[in-house]
């Protein structure tokens, strides 16, 4: 094989790579659009009107994104996955956040990684196909934490005094959970460093409620 032949052979691979990149970009764009739509639906939780029915709505929205993710999973084999991970890392984290948020609104529990993967229609184990990385999952959980701190503030505005207390418990547990992890100096670590501000915000809300006796009132009445 001459040098020129070798190079045109390599060029073939490179342009194939380029094509895959293009394909992924398109799929990711779709996913981002869907993620934004779901987020819009979930955002109405912050409105004074109740969110029970919103919880139902978001699972409906969840159906919507299952389809989109599935098409990614089919297209990209797991061999390619590590190489192009950067392309969809962001959107996958958003989707993990949305799934975690939706599950929290419904059950007030922390979503498991398996559940998220199931909602998104992807795998947990890398070998089985398109998978949800543990770091992406945890990043999604952390995004949810800051969303919950917002929810705590807004639910007080809406007159629900018991929810902030429950959120506070939840976030505190989450915080102790994250403290168990030996994080490296990576993006996840930076995200985790932001968690304390969420904790602080919620604790301030709880403090405001307790000092005015509103927390007690809701405990006897609400729970």
């Amino acid at each position: 094989m001459s040098v020129t032949e070798m190079f045109s052979y390599i060029q073939g691979f490179l342009s194939a790579d380029q094509d895959v990149r293009e394909d992924i970009r398109k799929v990711v764009q779709n996913l981002e659009q869907t993620a934004r739509e779901i987020l819009t639906v979930l955002q109405s939780v912050h409105q004074p009107s109740g969110f029970k029915e919103k919880g139902q709505l978001c699972s409906l929205a969840g159906k919507h994104f299952t389809a989109s993710v599935e098409c990614t999973g089919g297209e990209e084999s797991f061999e390619i996955e590590s190489e192009f991970h950067e392309h969809w890392r962001f959107v996958l984290q958003r989707l993990a956040f949305l799934a975690a948020f939706a599950v929290y609104l419904e059950s007030e529990n922390l979503v498991t990684r398996e559940e998220v993967a199931q909602i998104l229609g992807i795998e947990v184990v890398r070998e089985k196909g398109f998978h949800l990385d543990i770091e992406d999952f945890l990043a999604g959980v952390l995004i949810m934490a800051s969303e919950l701190s917002r929810l705590a503030v807004n639910s007080v505005t809406a007159g629900d005094y018991s929810r902030p207390l429950r959120i506070s418990n939840f976030i505190n547990e989450l915080d102790s959970g994250f403290r168990l992890l030996n994080l490296k100096n990576d993006p996840l670590r930076k995200r985790y460093d932001g968690l304390k501000y969420d904790v602080k915000k919620i604790e301030e809300v709880v403090y405001d409620l307790s000092i005015r006796g509103l927390a007690k009132e809701s405990e006897s009445g609400g729970n």
Partner: protein, 254 residues
Amino acid sequence: MNKREGEGWSRRNVEAAQEHDVHANPSSPIVAAFKVFQQELDTKHDKYERLVKISRDVTIESKRTIFLLHRQLIQLNYLNLFNVLCGFMMVVFRALGIQEYVEAVSFLHYIRHRSLISLEEINARLVFMRTENAPPLGAHVLTFQVTPADYLLGVADLTGELMRLCIGSVGNGDIDTPFQLSQFLRQIHDGFSYIGNTGPYEVSKKLHTLRQSLGKVEDACYTLRVRGSEIPKHMLADVFSSRTTHMDTEEGVV
């Protein structure tokens, strides 16, 4: 500010905090879940560290091999070298230092065959049979695939070695090799020009170095042609020895 105190404390004593948390909420499902995450993350990080370690080893071995090749060229002791190479090839499994490996292997290949090693040939060498403590399934075949991008970057590195080889061989009074090399380098350069900007972004950086190397080799060939007839062969070696040192210092600066 109770809260602030709490923060400072947790940052100072993460370890103690962990203990505290575990004792505080041993039954919490969230903490239980995070214990699983902890293990998983640790395993992942450990694996990553091992990879980094191996890839450093591969890089070091590759560089050593290249220098060995440069030193041993005069004795043409290839067989011995090949054994050395085979030894460390076994180390290469799932490593990031693969570009250096490509560089070393393609350099060896060039010296033996005067041609560019192909991607298939490299990959064909990276098939290992796991014989010792074989699993019950019998001989296990492990393969490692060099990606086209790594191959390309490895070949780009190879050109630097070829430049050194060229200048060195002139210094040794070998007149033919520089011309062969300059032709070969030109072919590689043309190949890279063909790839252009479509490749990984490191390529354009290496292309610059490649141009410099090519320039040096072409200059050497030029001098050889122009002054070769004027200077007797035994003196030519002297002329180029001084020139080589000049080149080397230049290389050092770049």
